[in-house]
Protein backbone atom coordinates (compact mmCIF):
# COMPACT_ATOMS: atom_id res chain seq x y z
CA UNK A 1 0.00 0.00 0.00
CA UNK A 2 1.25 3.44 -0.87
CA UNK A 3 2.67 5.56 1.94
CA UNK A 4 0.52 8.59 2.66
CA UNK A 5 2.38 11.87 3.10
CA UNK A 6 0.60 14.95 4.41
CA UNK A 7 1.92 18.25 3.05
CA UNK A 8 1.33 21.25 5.32
CA UNK A 9 2.28 24.38 3.37
CA UNK A 10 0.56 27.70 2.83
CA UNK A 11 2.10 28.40 -0.57
CA UNK A 12 0.33 26.35 -3.18
CA UNK A 13 3.15 26.66 -5.68
CA UNK A 14 5.65 25.18 -3.25
CA UNK A 15 3.25 22.51 -2.05
CA UNK A 16 2.16 21.47 -5.54
CA UNK A 17 5.75 21.01 -6.69
CA UNK A 18 6.40 18.68 -3.76
CA UNK A 19 3.10 16.92 -4.29
CA UNK A 20 3.85 16.24 -7.98
CA UNK A 21 7.27 14.91 -7.02
CA UNK A 22 5.99 12.60 -4.29
CA UNK A 23 3.15 11.30 -6.44
CA UNK A 24 5.64 10.49 -9.19
CA UNK A 25 7.63 8.50 -6.65
CA UNK A 26 4.56 6.47 -5.75
CA UNK A 27 3.47 8.20 -2.55
CA UNK A 28 -0.11 9.04 -1.86
CA UNK A 29 -0.75 12.70 -1.04
CA UNK A 30 -4.06 13.73 0.54
CA UNK A 31 -5.29 17.30 -0.04
CA UNK A 32 -2.61 19.81 0.91
CA UNK A 33 -3.25 21.55 4.24
CA UNK A 34 -2.74 25.32 4.19
CA UNK A 35 -3.50 26.04 7.84
CA UNK A 36 -3.07 24.47 11.27
CA UNK A 37 -6.80 23.66 11.38
CA UNK A 38 -6.73 22.00 7.97
CA UNK A 39 -3.67 20.00 8.98
CA UNK A 40 -5.25 18.81 12.25
CA UNK A 41 -8.43 17.86 10.39
CA UNK A 42 -6.37 15.98 7.80
CA UNK A 43 -4.68 14.00 10.58
CA UNK A 44 -8.09 12.99 11.91
CA UNK A 45 -9.49 12.05 8.52
CA UNK A 46 -6.58 10.31 6.87
CA UNK A 47 -4.22 7.50 7.66
CA UNK A 48 -1.12 9.64 7.53
CA UNK A 49 2.26 7.95 7.76
CA UNK A 50 4.59 10.88 7.11
CA UNK A 51 4.35 14.65 6.97
CA UNK A 52 6.22 17.63 5.54
CA UNK A 53 5.36 20.68 7.63
CA UNK A 54 6.12 24.31 6.81
CA UNK A 55 6.91 26.10 10.07
CA UNK A 56 5.27 29.38 9.09
CA UNK A 57 1.72 29.13 7.80
CA UNK A 58 0.79 32.64 6.67
CA UNK A 59 2.28 34.09 9.82
CA UNK A 60 1.04 31.36 12.16
CA UNK A 61 3.50 28.85 13.59
CA UNK A 62 2.64 25.26 12.77
CA UNK A 63 3.89 23.84 16.08
CA UNK A 64 0.43 22.57 17.11
CA UNK A 65 0.62 20.37 14.01
CA UNK A 66 4.04 19.14 15.11
CA UNK A 67 2.61 18.36 18.56
CA UNK A 68 -0.27 16.41 17.03
CA UNK A 69 2.11 14.47 14.78
CA UNK A 70 4.37 13.65 17.71
CA UNK A 71 1.39 12.53 19.78
CA UNK A 72 0.45 10.15 16.97
CA UNK A 73 4.08 9.04 16.50
CA UNK A 74 3.99 10.15 12.88
CA UNK A 75 7.48 11.12 11.70
CA UNK A 76 7.76 14.42 9.90
CA UNK A 77 10.19 16.97 8.52
CA UNK A 78 9.94 20.74 8.98
CA UNK A 79 10.51 23.10 6.08
CA UNK A 80 11.28 26.75 6.61
CA UNK A 81 12.41 29.90 4.89
CA UNK A 82 13.74 31.15 8.23
CA UNK A 83 17.02 29.93 9.61
CA UNK A 84 17.06 27.42 12.45
CA UNK A 85 17.02 30.38 14.83
CA UNK A 86 13.28 30.62 14.28
CA UNK A 87 12.69 27.19 15.82
CA UNK A 88 11.99 27.07 19.57
CA UNK A 89 13.98 24.59 21.64
CA UNK A 90 11.51 21.70 21.94
CA UNK A 91 11.24 21.44 18.15
CA UNK A 92 14.91 21.62 17.24
CA UNK A 93 15.26 17.86 17.52
CA UNK A 94 13.12 17.38 14.40
CA UNK A 95 14.73 17.41 10.98
CA UNK A 96 14.53 20.80 9.27
CA UNK A 97 14.91 21.49 5.58
CA UNK A 98 15.65 25.06 4.54
CA UNK A 99 13.64 26.47 1.64
CA UNK A 100 14.33 26.40 -1.18
CA UNK A 101 15.52 22.83 -1.13
CA UNK A 102 16.49 20.44 -3.88
CA UNK A 103 13.27 18.55 -4.39
CA UNK A 104 15.07 15.25 -4.89
CA UNK A 105 16.76 15.62 -1.49
CA UNK A 106 13.54 15.45 0.46
CA UNK A 107 12.46 11.92 -0.34
CA UNK A 108 15.59 10.25 1.11
CA UNK A 109 14.88 12.16 4.35
CA UNK A 110 11.32 10.80 4.34
CA UNK A 111 12.63 7.29 3.75
CA UNK A 112 15.06 7.77 6.62
CA UNK A 113 12.21 8.88 8.89
CA UNK A 114 10.43 5.62 8.15
CA UNK A 115 13.56 3.72 8.94
CA UNK A 116 14.02 2.70 5.33
CA UNK A 117 17.33 2.72 3.56
CA UNK A 118 18.07 4.31 0.21
CA UNK A 119 16.28 2.97 -2.83
Amino acid sequence: MAVRVLIVEDEFLIASMLEAHLVRLGYEVPPIAATVDEALAALDDNEIQLAVVDINLAGTASFPVADALRARSIPFVFTTGYGETGVPEPYRAFPIVQKPYRISKLEPILRGLRGEGPV
Binding site: E11, F12, I14, T35, G81, Y82, G86
Partner: protein, 367 residues
Protein backbone atom coordinates in the same frame (compact mmCIF):
# COMPACT_ATOMS: atom_id res chain seq x y z
CA UNK B 1 39.35 59.53 48.95
CA UNK B 2 38.82 62.12 51.58
CA UNK B 3 35.82 64.39 51.37
CA UNK B 4 36.77 67.98 50.86
CA UNK B 5 34.90 71.11 51.92
CA UNK B 6 32.05 72.09 49.68
CA UNK B 7 32.65 74.90 47.23
CA UNK B 8 29.57 77.10 47.63
CA UNK B 9 30.26 79.42 44.74
CA UNK B 10 30.45 76.63 42.24
CA UNK B 11 27.28 74.85 43.22
CA UNK B 12 25.03 77.85 43.62
CA UNK B 13 26.23 79.32 40.35
CA UNK B 14 25.34 76.22 38.37
CA UNK B 15 22.59 74.42 40.21
CA UNK B 16 20.86 76.66 42.71
CA UNK B 17 18.88 73.75 44.11
CA UNK B 18 21.99 72.14 45.54
CA UNK B 19 22.83 74.32 48.46
CA UNK B 20 24.01 71.88 51.10
CA UNK B 21 26.68 69.68 49.60
CA UNK B 22 28.59 67.86 52.26
CA UNK B 23 31.08 66.40 49.85
CA UNK B 24 32.70 68.08 46.90
CA UNK B 25 32.85 66.51 43.47
CA UNK B 26 36.10 64.65 43.02
CA UNK B 27 37.06 66.69 40.00
CA UNK B 28 37.51 69.57 42.36
CA UNK B 29 39.40 67.44 44.80
CA UNK B 30 41.75 66.06 42.22
CA UNK B 31 42.39 69.41 40.63
CA UNK B 32 43.04 71.04 43.96
CA UNK B 33 45.25 68.20 45.13
CA UNK B 34 47.21 68.19 41.91
CA UNK B 35 47.71 71.91 42.05
CA UNK B 36 48.75 71.80 45.67
CA UNK B 37 51.31 69.15 44.95
CA UNK B 38 52.63 70.27 41.61
CA UNK B 39 52.71 74.01 41.74
CA UNK B 40 52.67 76.95 44.05
CA UNK B 41 51.00 79.32 41.66
CA UNK B 42 47.53 77.79 42.09
CA UNK B 43 44.95 80.11 40.61
CA UNK B 44 41.64 79.58 42.40
CA UNK B 45 39.73 81.64 39.83
CA UNK B 46 41.06 79.59 36.89
CA UNK B 47 40.26 76.37 38.73
CA UNK B 48 36.79 77.59 39.55
CA UNK B 49 36.16 78.59 35.94
CA UNK B 50 37.25 75.16 34.80
CA UNK B 51 34.89 73.51 37.27
CA UNK B 52 31.99 75.63 36.10
CA UNK B 53 32.72 74.46 32.60
CA UNK B 54 32.87 70.79 33.63
CA UNK B 55 29.71 71.14 35.65
CA UNK B 56 27.88 72.74 32.72
CA UNK B 57 28.91 69.86 30.47
CA UNK B 58 27.94 67.22 33.03
CA UNK B 59 24.56 68.81 33.65
CA UNK B 60 23.81 69.28 29.96
CA UNK B 61 24.33 65.69 28.89
CA UNK B 62 21.34 63.36 28.83
CA UNK B 63 23.71 60.62 30.00
CA UNK B 64 23.84 59.76 33.68
CA UNK B 65 27.15 60.84 35.19
CA UNK B 66 28.18 59.99 38.73
CA UNK B 67 31.09 59.17 41.00
CA UNK B 68 31.42 56.52 43.71
CA UNK B 69 33.90 56.76 46.54
CA UNK B 70 35.86 53.70 47.59
CA UNK B 71 33.02 52.71 49.93
CA UNK B 72 30.67 52.57 46.89
CA UNK B 73 28.80 55.71 47.97
CA UNK B 74 27.58 58.25 45.45
CA UNK B 75 29.62 61.41 45.88
CA UNK B 76 28.48 62.98 42.66
CA UNK B 77 25.35 62.61 40.53
CA UNK B 78 24.34 64.85 37.65
CA UNK B 79 20.81 66.08 37.09
CA UNK B 80 20.03 63.36 34.57
CA UNK B 81 20.72 60.71 37.20
CA UNK B 82 18.78 62.54 39.92
CA UNK B 83 15.84 62.85 37.53
CA UNK B 84 16.02 59.16 36.74
CA UNK B 85 15.96 58.33 40.43
CA UNK B 86 13.37 60.98 41.17
CA UNK B 87 15.54 62.17 44.06
CA UNK B 88 17.21 65.35 45.20
CA UNK B 89 20.95 65.48 45.65
CA UNK B 90 20.55 65.93 49.43
CA UNK B 91 18.57 62.75 49.48
CA UNK B 92 21.00 60.74 47.40
CA UNK B 93 24.39 61.91 48.52
CA UNK B 94 26.64 59.51 50.36
CA UNK B 95 24.33 56.58 49.77
CA UNK B 96 25.15 53.28 48.12
CA UNK B 97 23.04 51.66 45.43
CA UNK B 98 21.42 49.40 47.99
CA UNK B 99 20.63 52.34 50.25
CA UNK B 100 19.07 54.09 47.26
CA UNK B 101 16.65 51.22 46.82
CA UNK B 102 18.33 49.27 44.02
CA UNK B 103 17.32 45.62 43.96
CA UNK B 104 19.83 43.58 45.99
CA UNK B 105 21.08 41.66 42.93
CA UNK B 106 21.61 44.94 41.09
CA UNK B 107 23.39 46.61 44.01
CA UNK B 108 25.59 43.54 44.49
CA UNK B 109 26.47 43.50 40.80
CA UNK B 110 27.64 47.12 40.96
CA UNK B 111 29.50 46.42 44.22
CA UNK B 112 31.42 43.66 42.48
CA UNK B 113 32.12 45.88 39.49
CA UNK B 114 33.32 48.77 41.64
CA UNK B 115 35.64 46.41 43.53
CA UNK B 116 36.88 45.10 40.21
CA UNK B 117 37.69 48.62 39.01
CA UNK B 118 39.46 49.38 42.30
CA UNK B 119 41.45 46.15 42.14
CA UNK B 120 42.44 46.30 38.48
CA UNK B 121 42.45 50.02 37.77
CA UNK B 122 40.61 49.14 34.56
CA UNK B 123 37.18 50.31 33.40
CA UNK B 124 34.26 47.89 33.28
CA UNK B 125 31.20 48.05 31.11
CA UNK B 126 27.76 46.47 31.19
CA UNK B 127 24.11 46.94 30.49
CA UNK B 128 21.19 46.56 32.80
CA UNK B 129 17.46 47.32 32.94
CA UNK B 130 16.44 49.84 35.54
CA UNK B 131 13.15 51.58 36.33
CA UNK B 132 13.33 55.27 35.43
CA UNK B 133 11.17 57.31 37.81
CA UNK B 134 8.89 58.58 35.06
CA UNK B 135 9.70 56.58 31.91
CA UNK B 136 9.42 53.07 33.34
CA UNK B 137 11.98 50.35 32.83
CA UNK B 138 14.76 51.38 30.44
CA UNK B 139 17.91 49.62 29.29
CA UNK B 140 21.10 51.32 30.46
CA UNK B 141 24.59 50.88 29.08
CA UNK B 142 27.11 51.91 31.73
CA UNK B 143 30.82 52.19 32.17
CA UNK B 144 32.66 52.50 35.49
CA UNK B 145 36.10 53.93 35.13
CA UNK B 146 38.82 54.48 37.75
CA UNK B 147 39.81 57.93 38.96
CA UNK B 148 43.52 57.61 39.67
CA UNK B 149 44.93 59.63 42.55
CA UNK B 150 48.34 61.31 42.70
CA UNK B 151 49.73 58.20 44.39
CA UNK B 152 48.71 56.11 41.41
CA UNK B 153 45.95 54.35 43.28
CA UNK B 154 42.27 54.38 42.45
CA UNK B 155 40.72 57.09 44.58
CA UNK B 156 37.21 57.09 43.17
CA UNK B 157 35.13 55.45 40.48
CA UNK B 158 33.52 57.63 37.85
CA UNK B 159 30.53 56.29 36.02
CA UNK B 160 28.69 57.18 32.85
CA UNK B 161 25.43 55.57 31.83
CA UNK B 162 23.44 55.90 28.64
CA UNK B 163 19.82 55.01 28.01
CA UNK B 164 20.06 52.63 25.05
CA UNK B 165 16.46 51.43 25.09
CA UNK B 166 15.62 53.01 21.73
CA UNK B 167 18.86 51.88 20.15
CA UNK B 168 18.29 48.33 21.32
CA UNK B 169 14.71 48.41 20.09
CA UNK B 170 15.88 49.76 16.75
CA UNK B 171 18.52 47.04 16.47
CA UNK B 172 15.94 44.42 17.36
CA UNK B 173 13.58 45.85 14.74
CA UNK B 174 16.36 45.79 12.14
CA UNK B 175 17.20 42.17 12.93
CA UNK B 176 13.53 41.34 12.62
CA UNK B 177 13.30 43.10 9.26
CA UNK B 178 16.39 41.38 7.90
CA UNK B 179 15.09 38.04 9.12
CA UNK B 180 11.70 38.72 7.56
CA UNK B 181 13.28 39.83 4.30
CA UNK B 182 15.39 36.69 4.23
CA UNK B 183 12.30 34.59 4.77
CA UNK B 184 10.51 36.36 1.95
CA UNK B 185 13.44 35.97 -0.41
CA UNK B 186 13.79 32.27 0.41
CA UNK B 187 10.07 31.74 -0.05
CA UNK B 188 10.09 33.64 -3.32
CA UNK B 189 13.02 31.58 -4.55
CA UNK B 190 11.07 28.43 -3.70
CA UNK B 191 8.13 29.83 -5.67
CA UNK B 192 10.39 30.59 -8.62
CA UNK B 193 11.81 27.09 -8.36
CA UNK B 194 8.29 25.69 -8.46
CA UNK B 195 7.26 27.86 -11.42
CA UNK B 196 10.25 26.71 -13.40
CA UNK B 197 10.06 23.04 -12.44
CA UNK B 198 6.33 22.76 -13.02
CA UNK B 199 6.35 24.76 -16.24
CA UNK B 200 9.07 22.48 -17.61
CA UNK B 201 7.25 19.37 -16.38
CA UNK B 202 4.27 20.17 -18.53
CA UNK B 203 6.20 21.48 -21.51
CA UNK B 204 6.58 19.97 -24.92
CA UNK B 205 8.79 22.52 -26.63
CA UNK B 206 11.53 24.58 -25.08
CA UNK B 207 10.76 27.91 -26.71
CA UNK B 208 7.21 27.81 -25.44
CA UNK B 209 8.27 26.92 -21.92
CA UNK B 210 10.95 29.60 -21.92
CA UNK B 211 8.29 32.11 -22.82
CA UNK B 212 5.95 30.80 -20.13
CA UNK B 213 8.60 30.86 -17.42
CA UNK B 214 9.57 34.38 -18.39
CA UNK B 215 6.04 35.74 -18.34
CA UNK B 216 5.20 33.98 -15.05
CA UNK B 217 8.29 35.47 -13.43
CA UNK B 218 7.35 38.90 -14.73
CA UNK B 219 3.85 38.52 -13.31
CA UNK B 220 5.40 37.59 -9.96
CA UNK B 221 7.73 40.55 -10.21
CA UNK B 222 4.83 42.92 -10.94
CA UNK B 223 2.99 41.67 -7.87
CA UNK B 224 6.11 42.33 -5.81
CA UNK B 225 6.35 45.86 -7.19
CA UNK B 226 2.80 46.59 -6.09
CA UNK B 227 3.47 45.17 -2.63
CA UNK B 228 6.73 47.08 -2.29
CA UNK B 229 4.92 50.33 -3.05
CA UNK B 230 2.67 49.56 -0.09
CA UNK B 231 5.55 48.49 2.18
CA UNK B 232 4.40 44.88 1.94
CA UNK B 233 1.36 45.70 4.04
CA UNK B 234 -1.02 44.63 1.32
CA UNK B 235 -2.10 45.42 -2.20
CA UNK B 236 -5.20 46.98 -3.67
CA UNK B 237 -7.06 44.60 -5.96
CA UNK B 238 -7.38 47.36 -8.56
CA UNK B 239 -3.60 47.55 -8.80
CA UNK B 240 -3.29 43.76 -9.06
CA UNK B 241 -5.89 43.55 -11.82
CA UNK B 242 -4.47 46.55 -13.69
CA UNK B 243 -0.99 45.06 -13.60
CA UNK B 244 -2.21 41.73 -14.94
CA UNK B 245 -4.08 43.50 -17.74
CA UNK B 246 -1.13 45.75 -18.55
CA UNK B 247 1.23 42.80 -18.81
CA UNK B 248 -0.87 40.99 -21.40
CA UNK B 249 -2.68 43.52 -23.51
CA UNK B 250 -1.28 44.85 -26.71
CA UNK B 251 -3.80 47.67 -26.81
CA UNK B 252 -3.70 49.28 -23.44
CA UNK B 253 -7.05 50.14 -22.00
CA UNK B 254 -9.01 48.97 -25.00
CA UNK B 255 -9.66 45.34 -24.28
CA UNK B 256 -10.41 45.34 -20.57
CA UNK B 257 -13.35 46.61 -18.56
CA UNK B 258 -12.24 46.75 -14.97
CA UNK B 259 -14.36 47.81 -12.02
CA UNK B 260 -14.66 47.12 -8.34
CA UNK B 261 -14.31 48.66 -4.89
CA UNK B 262 -11.03 49.11 -3.04
CA UNK B 263 -10.08 45.80 -1.47
CA UNK B 264 -6.73 45.42 0.27
CA UNK B 265 -5.33 41.92 0.06
CA UNK B 266 -2.47 40.79 2.27
CA UNK B 267 0.75 39.98 0.43
CA UNK B 268 0.36 36.22 0.05
CA UNK B 269 -3.16 36.48 -1.35
CA UNK B 270 -2.21 39.39 -3.56
CA UNK B 271 0.54 37.31 -5.14
CA UNK B 272 -1.79 34.33 -5.55
CA UNK B 273 -4.43 36.47 -7.26
CA UNK B 274 -1.83 38.15 -9.47
CA UNK B 275 -0.49 34.78 -10.61
CA UNK B 276 -4.00 33.47 -11.28
CA UNK B 277 -5.01 36.55 -13.28
CA UNK B 278 -1.82 36.19 -15.26
CA UNK B 279 -2.81 32.66 -16.22
CA UNK B 280 -6.26 33.89 -17.26
CA UNK B 281 -4.68 36.62 -19.39
CA UNK B 282 -2.28 34.19 -21.02
CA UNK B 283 -5.12 31.84 -21.80
CA UNK B 284 -7.23 34.68 -23.22
CA UNK B 285 -4.41 35.74 -25.54
CA UNK B 286 -3.78 32.22 -26.72
CA UNK B 287 -7.26 30.75 -26.97
CA UNK B 288 -9.80 33.27 -25.74
CA UNK B 289 -11.19 36.74 -26.32
CA UNK B 290 -7.78 38.39 -26.73
CA UNK B 291 -6.81 35.98 -29.51
CA UNK B 292 -8.98 37.87 -32.01
CA UNK B 293 -9.55 41.58 -32.71
CA UNK B 294 -12.62 42.94 -30.95
CA UNK B 295 -12.69 40.41 -28.13
CA UNK B 296 -13.01 41.85 -24.64
CA UNK B 297 -12.44 40.91 -21.05
CA UNK B 298 -14.51 42.17 -18.17
CA UNK B 299 -13.08 41.98 -14.66
CA UNK B 300 -15.55 43.04 -12.00
CA UNK B 301 -15.65 42.44 -8.31
CA UNK B 302 -17.90 43.31 -5.40
CA UNK B 303 -18.28 42.59 -1.71
CA UNK B 304 -20.87 40.11 -0.68
CA UNK B 305 -23.68 41.26 1.61
CA UNK B 306 -21.84 41.24 4.94
CA UNK B 307 -18.41 42.14 3.53
CA UNK B 308 -17.07 38.75 4.55
CA UNK B 309 -15.87 37.97 1.05
CA UNK B 310 -15.25 39.43 -2.39
CA UNK B 311 -16.61 37.91 -5.56
CA UNK B 312 -14.52 38.53 -8.62
CA UNK B 313 -15.77 37.66 -12.06
CA UNK B 314 -13.64 37.36 -15.15
CA UNK B 315 -15.74 37.17 -18.28
CA UNK B 316 -14.53 37.06 -21.84
CA UNK B 317 -16.70 38.11 -24.80
CA UNK B 318 -16.27 38.49 -28.53
CA UNK B 319 -13.72 35.73 -28.81
CA UNK B 320 -13.77 32.54 -30.84
CA UNK B 321 -16.25 29.82 -29.88
CA UNK B 322 -15.14 28.24 -26.65
CA UNK B 323 -14.26 24.61 -26.26
CA UNK B 324 -13.29 23.26 -22.87
CA UNK B 325 -9.67 22.18 -22.76
CA UNK B 326 -9.06 18.45 -23.02
CA UNK B 327 -6.22 18.36 -20.53
CA UNK B 328 -5.35 20.28 -17.43
CA UNK B 329 -2.03 22.10 -17.60
CA UNK B 330 -0.06 23.82 -14.91
CA UNK B 331 -1.84 27.08 -15.68
CA UNK B 332 -5.27 25.73 -14.92
CA UNK B 333 -4.00 23.88 -11.86
CA UNK B 334 -2.61 27.16 -10.61
CA UNK B 335 -5.95 28.84 -11.24
CA UNK B 336 -8.22 26.34 -9.66
CA UNK B 337 -6.36 24.51 -6.94
CA UNK B 338 -3.85 27.29 -6.34
CA UNK B 339 -6.41 30.03 -5.79
CA UNK B 340 -8.48 27.80 -3.57
CA UNK B 341 -5.44 26.93 -1.49
CA UNK B 342 -3.84 30.36 -1.23
CA UNK B 343 -7.00 32.44 -0.91
CA UNK B 344 -8.89 29.96 1.19
CA UNK B 345 -11.70 30.61 -1.23
CA UNK B 346 -12.84 29.10 -4.46
CA UNK B 347 -12.38 29.44 -8.19
CA UNK B 348 -14.81 28.15 -10.75
CA UNK B 349 -14.20 28.02 -14.49
CA UNK B 350 -17.14 27.87 -16.90
CA UNK B 351 -16.31 27.41 -20.54
CA UNK B 352 -19.43 29.22 -21.74
CA UNK B 353 -20.05 29.29 -25.47
CA UNK B 354 -19.63 33.08 -25.79
CA UNK B 355 -16.50 33.23 -23.69
CA UNK B 356 -14.76 31.91 -20.61
CA UNK B 357 -16.20 32.85 -17.26
CA UNK B 358 -14.13 32.49 -14.14
CA UNK B 359 -15.60 33.25 -10.76
CA UNK B 360 -13.30 33.72 -7.83
CA UNK B 361 -14.43 33.86 -4.24
CA UNK B 362 -12.02 35.55 -1.85
CA UNK B 363 -12.99 35.35 1.83
CA UNK B 364 -11.80 38.38 3.78
CA UNK B 365 -10.28 38.40 7.21
CA UNK B 366 -8.35 35.62 8.85
CA UNK B 367 -8.71 32.14 7.59
Amino acid sequence: MQALPFDDARATAVTPTRTTFTMAPPAHAILAAMNDLATHDFDPEAASAKLRLYEAVLQATPDLVYVFDLQHRFIYANDALLTMWGRSWDDAIGKTCLELGYEPWHAEMHDREIEHVIATGMPIRGDVPFPHKTKGVRIYDYIFTPVIGPDGRVEAIAGSTRDVTERQEHEKHMRLLVNELNHRVKNTLAIVQSLVVQTLDGASDSEQSRDKIESRLLALSDAHDILTRENWQGADMVAIVDAAAALCQQYPGERFDISGPTVILEPRRAVALAMALHELCTNAIKHGALSVPGGRVGVHWAFDGDHSAVHLMWKETGGPPVTPPTQRGFGSTLLQRGLKHDLGGDAKMDFEADGLRCEILIPLGNR
